[in-house]
Symmetry: C2
Subunit: 229 residues, 2 copies
DNA sequence: ACAATATCCAAACGGTGTTCGCATAGCAAC
DNA sequence: GTTGCTATGCGAACACCGTTTGGATATTGT
C-alpha cells in the first residue's frame, strides 16, 4: 500500500468504474430504445443496483444525461475532426467534414436528437456550461477550414453584414474569430444542419436518393464560397 | 326535437365542446409549461374531470398530442399563407413568408418543437398520416411562390440535379410539382429551418442581433434565386 | 316506460424520479 | 487492534405518470 498516495485508492477505482458503467448503460438505453427508455430505474436494473444507489454517483438523472450530452458532442466533434484532417484540398476536406456531420447523425440518431433537440422532458443544462464547450468543439473544425482557406487566399473574405457576438465562442477558438467569418460559418451550418434535421424527423419525402440530394446541397454551399481552385 | 336530424343533438354538442376544451387545456399546458407538463392527468385536473373520462373522447394521450400537432401545423401554415398572400412583388412575399416561419417559431416555441422535433417520449404518429397532410400545408405557400415566380418568368428554372420523389407530396400540391423545383424548395427550406432550429436550441451565440442575421440570411437565399426584378 | 347507449369515476396496476433512514463495508488514525 | 468516520448500498415511501376495469349514473331513441 505504498503507492496509495500516488495512485487511486481501491474505492476510488471502483467508483470510477461504476460511473463509466452507469453511463455506458445509459447510452445503450438511449441508442437502442430511444430517449423514452432512458430512465434512472432502468439504468439501475441494467447495472444491477438499486435506483437509490445511483444517487451515490450522480446528483440525479439530469446529471447522467449531461454526461451523455458532453460525450456525444465530443464523439461527433471527433468524427468531424477526423474527416477534416486527412489529405486533399481544403474544399475536399470541407465537403468531407459536412458529410461526417450527416453520417454521424445517421449512425447515432438518438444522440443527434439529444444534442440538437430536447427529447428529455424536464432536462435543464447545468450552469457552468460544460455542454457549451463541447458544442463549440463540433463547430471548430468548420471554422478552422474557413480560416485556413482564407489565410491561403483560396476564398475571398465574406462581404460584411450584421455583427455576430463573438464573445462567447472566440475565446474558445484558437486565435479568436472575426464576426463576418463566424456569421458565414453559421449560415453554412444552418443549411446542412437544417437538411439533416428535417431528414431525421421525416419531413423530407422518403424513398428519394437523399445521399445525392445532400451531396448536391453541399456542392452548392461549397461552390458559393468562391474557391479559386 | 324536429331539428335533431339536421343539427347536432345535445350530447353531440356537449361532446364537441368538451373535446375542444380538452385540447385547449392541453395546448395551454404545452405552451405555458412545456412538453414535460403535457400529461393526461394534468389535463384532466385542468378541465375538472377524472383521468379515465378523457378516454371517452380520446384513445389516449397520443391522440390528444396528434390533435395538437395537426392544429399547430395549420396555425403555422395559416401564418405563412397570410404573410405570403399580401401585396408586393413575389420576392417580397417570399421574404415575408420566410419571416412568418421564424416569427411563428419564436411566438410558439413549444409548438415548433412539437412539429419539428420529438419532445414527447413515446409518441407515435398515427397511420393515416393526418400530420403529413398538415405538414405539407406549411411547405405549400413556398412552393406556390416558386411556381408563380417561375410561371411569370421572374426566376430561371433550377439546374437539374438528383431527383426527389414527388409522389408523396405532388398529389397534395395543386397541379403537381417538378422534381427539380421541389428539391430547390427543400434546399431553401433547409437553410432557414436550420437557422431557426439552431437558434431555438441555443446553439447560436446569444446577445447578437439575430433578427438582422436572419434577414441577411434570407437576403442571400432570395438573391440566389436570380430574380430579374 | 323501457332498453340501449354514452358518460363518468373510483380503484388498481405497473411505471417513473427522488428522498429518507438504516445497515454495512472500507479506511484512517490512535 | 480497536475505534470512529465516511462512503456505499438498499428497502420503503411519496408523489407523480398512462392506462384498464367495473360499476354507477345520466341521456337518448323507441
Amino acid at each position: 500500500m505504498l503507492v496509495t498516495k500516488e495512485t487511486l485508492t481501491r474505492r476510488e477505482r471502483l467508483r470510477a468504474e461504476l460511473i463509466t458503467e452507469i453511463k455506458r448503460a445509459a447510452r445503450r438505453r438511449l441508442t437502442e430504445s430511444g430517449a423514452g427508455e432512458l430512465s434512472l430505474r432502468g439504468i439501475a436494473r441494467d447495472v444491477g443496483m438499486s435506483p437509490a444507489s445511483i444517487y451515490t454517483y450522480f446528483k440525479g438523472l439530469d446529471e447522467v444525461v449531461t454526461g451523455l450530452i458532453v460525450d456525444s458532442f465530443e464523439a461527433q466533434a471527433s468524427a468531424i475532426r477526423s474527416a477534416s484532417a486527412g489529405q486533399g484540398s481544403i474544399k475536399e476536406r470541407l465537403k468531407r467534414a459536412t458529410w461526417a456531420y450527416r453520417v454521424w447523425a445517421h449512425d447515432s440518431p438518438q444522440e443527434f436528437r439529444l444534442l440538437y433537440e430536447s427529447p428529455i422532458a424536464g432536462y435543464r443544462a447545468p450552469e457552468g456550461g460544460p455542454t457549451v464547450d463541447a458544442a463549440i468543439a463540433v463547430m471548430s473544425p468548420f471554422m478552422e477550414l474557413l480560416r485556413e482557406a482564407s489565410a491561403t487566399g483560396q476564398i475571398p473574405p465574406p462581404p460584411p453584414g450584421p455583427p455576430i457576438d463573438t464573445g462567447a465562442t472566440a475565446p474558445r477558438l484558437d486565435g479568436g474569430i472575426d464576426s463576418d467569418w463566424l456569421r458565414l460559418g453559421i449560415e453554412i451550418w444552418s443549411q446542412f444542419h437544417g437538411f439533416v434535421s428535417l431528414e431525421l424527423n421525416g419531413h423530407i419525402p422518403p424513398g428519394s436518393a437523399l445521399d445525392d440530394v445532400y451531396d448536391h446541397l453541399i456542392d452548392n454551399i461549397v461552390s458559393r464560397l468562391g474557391f479559386t481552385d
